[in-house]
């Protein structure tokens, strides 16, 4: 994959999980006890051998810059190639929304790259993919554009592209839907194509008034280009709503999901914090949980995910909850069906309870 330029699309479209995205792009939402959503696609690219990766900077870039920094943790702090940022460019008298204007503003940069291919991915999908298979498929099919999809089980709400794919793998229809039904082929937001095709598409689409790579660049051009799509049949999640976030988190408490995402040959990298192993104390009780390093557990934890550095006081009971970094749950607190963002303090003996499947969300830095 030496001849591929990777591009991670950061859209900052935070409409559906607003509570977690007040201070960060959706792609930077914490997930799975120690990661951010964007870690999954970045790690997949790096593990596939892509060594030149551009990360789009949203208008409020701080969450991206703070997490990805020099790219060192993904082995992308290099003298040649490695990580680069695509700044969001303020075009004067520009009122368009969408990702297309950012790609367009950086078109000259892509054009000057010496890579033959570009792989564009979305920063908000959770998967662990080796893109080498995608490249083989792309070349075998002699495709102009190759996408990836996952056959959804159950119903899924949120804005997603859904594909119709024929027996040969050719995409016969691509449409944006707000509900994905059981058995639908959901796009993973992955596009592989020659750089020349990519630049042609973004130039054309933007100069004819387009806003969005998917809608104006791909869907509207479905007749013009040979678009193929390849299935990925391992675990995938797309966090497009608070419900989806909670459901995907709970998915991780199934051993097979945890093992397939994290324990295969390709690790997921993230910012390293050098936390100590979890310290379980005398009275701790833990069942069906994911617990990240740096936690100290005196109380009981069930069906829950604890991020790095969470303190669980004596007599605390946590159930069906997601507790993010550095939360401090004081002695006797009761937490059920709750998502706590970072640095939340729950005082002694306080109760917090959401409804099953409708978790209560506590925003960052709050003391209760």
């Amino acid at each position: 994959m030496k001849n591929v330029l990777g591009l991670v699309n950061i859209q900052e479209d935070n409409s559906l999980i607003r509570e977690l995205t007040a201070s960060r792009a959706v792609e930077l939402v914490p997930f799975a006890g120690r990661y951010r959503l964007v870690d999954f696609t970045l790690s997949s690219m790096v593990n596939s051998g892509i060594g030149h990766v551009g990360v789009m900077l949203p208008d409020r870039p701080r969450s991206v810059l703070d997490h990805v920094r020099s790219g060192k943790e993904w082995d992308l702090s290099r003298r040649h190639e490695g990580l680069f940022y695509l700044p969001s460019v303020k075009v004067e008298r520009e009122s368009r929304e969408g990702d297309l204007k950012n790609f367009y503003a950086n078109a000259d940069f892509f054009e000057h790259s010496d890579k033959k291919y570009v792989l564009i991915t979305s920063g908000s999908f959770i998967y662990n993919i080796d893109f080498n298979a995608l490249m083989d498929f792309h070349i075998e099919k002699d495709a102009d554009i190759t996408m990836m999809y996952h056959v959804e089980k159950g119903e899924n709400t949120g804005k997603n592209a859904v594909l119709e794919v024929n027996g040969d793998g050719r995409a016969e229809d691509i449409a944006e839907k707000t509900v994905v039904y059981d058995g639908s082929k959901m796009s993973l937001g992955v596009y592989l194509m020659e750089k020349r095709v990519f630049v042609e598409i973004i130039r054309n689409a933007y100069e004819h008034g387009g806003n969005d790579l998917l809608v104006d660049g791909i869907i509207k051009n479905a007749g013009k280009y040979k678009i193929y799509a390849m299935e990925h049949n391992e675990y995938v999640a797309h966090v497009e709503s608070m419900n989806a976030y909670y459901k995907s988190s709970m998915d991780l408490l199934r051993y097979d999901v945890w093992a397939s995402l994290f324990m295969g040959k390709n690790p997921i990298y993230t910012k390293v914090k050098d936390e100590v192993p979890v310290q379980y104390k005398e009275e701790s009780e833990v069942k069906n949980a994911l617990i990240a390093n740096g936690c100290i557990v005196h109380g009981s934890v069930e069906n829950s995910i604890l991020f790095r550095g969470v303190k669980v006081g004596k007599g605390v009971k946590i159930k069906n909850s997601v507790i993010m970094e550095n939360c401090d749950l004081k002695d006797g607190a009761l937490i059920e069906n709750v998502i706590c963002d970072k640095n939340v303090v729950v005082s002694k003996d306080k109760w917090l309870k959401g409804a099953p499947n409708y978790p209560l969300i506590v925003t960052k830095n709050v003391t209760i």
Partner: protein, 375 residues
């Protein structure tokens, strides 16, 4: 070019024979400790946190595995310009290769490395100790005392003093005499095996000692007594806090158990972080029937059985109904369903089959060596 003010040299020991089965495949400094660390993470992190960025690691055995672990030194943030971690095995020279004949000889054989770095001071550390210490303070004391040598000391219980090298000092901390394992100690200040020397002073003594045929080329036995004899300005530097030699199976096990106390021996959560090469693993998975009490468990593990009073490293699997107590289980080891592990150290990549029992007892810790299958 920024000058290296203080160069650290870590004596990473011989074959570590007292750790027996644990050092069959890896050098002693690479032995896992504390749920995610290796022993050498402690002196290396202390160096990094003290602002010392150039470190030589002197080892006789298995330098390649250690090299692979230390890599560029990036994990300890030592991959800086004019810094870095250098593995220094006894390699062939014009006159042929020599084994390191003693701690002083190991440094002597690497004088050319020291000259290349050209520091003003040389900090000599041991690779067998678990502790957190800011060497910058000790270096300040060395400079303020205009000392030739400064030796880190710790007060030990009087009854244990006969097991250590004991420093007798005046009220300013200047060392008046030194006794190796005295039967009737005059002080309880034990040498920690941490030395700061002014470079030129050290070089002179090492060169003199190297040609002596009856010398054991050891800092404690030969170099320090000779310096004292010559009236050199030698000061003690008192350290207070947790400091533990992990050179034996029993002490390694005990030091792991120390971490499980209600009050951990040093502030694990504090600013003085212990860095380590990170395995990129997810939070550990706890199954529906698991029970975990008074234990430390690291990333990437999967616990379905009972773990009590134990230290579990990354990637370990504890099967259903297994009972792990008073144990240290090193990376990637699998403990089968229904197995029992008690008072034991199980090294890396072992497989304890279902329903098997591995049982030691206090004072006789059972060891399963790296890569073994116990059926």
């Amino acid at each position: 070019m920024r000058k290296t003010e203080c160069l650290a040299m870590i004596l990473a020991g011989g074959q570590g024979s007292r750790l027996g089965a644990l050092t069959k495949k890896i050098a002693k400094p690479a032995v896992p400790f504390g749920g995610k660390y290796r022993i050498i993470d402690f002196p290396l992190s202390n160096c990094a946190n003290s602002g010392i960025t150039k470190v030589g690691v002197l080892t006789q055995y298995k330098p390649l595995e250690l090299h692979n672990y230390l890599a560029t030194g990036a994990a300890w943030d030592l991959d800086v310009r004019d810094g870095g971690v250098f593995i220094l095995p006894p390699y062939a020279r014009e006159k042929g290769a020599d084994w390191y004949r003693g701690t002083a000889d190991a440094i002597y054989q690497n004088l050319n490395f020291i000259e290349l770095a050209d520091p003003e001071y040389v900090l000599i550390l041991s690779g067998d100790h678990i502790y957190t210490m800011d060497y910058a303070w000790m270096l300040n004391a060395h400079k303020e005392n205009k000392a030739d040598a400064t030796i880190g000391v710790i007060e030990v219980p009087w009854e244990e003093a006969p097991r250590f090298g004991i420093m007798n000092t005046d009220e300013d901390g200047r060392i008046e005499s030194f006794e190796e394992k005295p039967k009737e100690p005059k002080s309880n200040k034990a040498s920690m095996g941490i030395y700061i020397f002014t470079k030129d002073f050290l070089k002179k003594y090492l060169e003199e000692d190297a040609v002596l045929e009856d010398s054991e080329h050891d800092f404690g036995k030969n170099i320090i007594p000779k310096m004292l004899n010559d009236g050199a300005r030698m000061f003690s530097y008192a350290f207070e806090g947790y400091w533990k030699d992990v050179g034996t199976i029993e002490s390694l096990w005990q030091a792991n158990m120390d971490l499980l106390q209600e009050e951990t021996p040093f502030d694990l959560q504090g600013k003085w972080k212990i860095y380590s090469s990170n395995p990129s693993m997810p939070p550990h998975f706890v199954g529906a029937d698991a029970s975990i009490k008074k234990s430390m468990i690291s990333e990437g593990s999967m616990i379905e059985g009972e773990v009590t009073n134990s230290v579990i490293f990354p990637g370990v699997r504890v099967g259903k109904g297994a009972k792990v107590t008073n144990a240290v289980v090193m990376p990637m080891t699998q403990i089968g369903a229904g197995a029992t592990v008690d008072y034991a150290i199980v090294a890396q990549d072992c497989i304890i089959k279902d329903n098997v029992t591995v049982k030691g007892e206090p004072g006789a810790i059972k060891v399963v060596p790296e890569g073994e299958t116990v059926a």
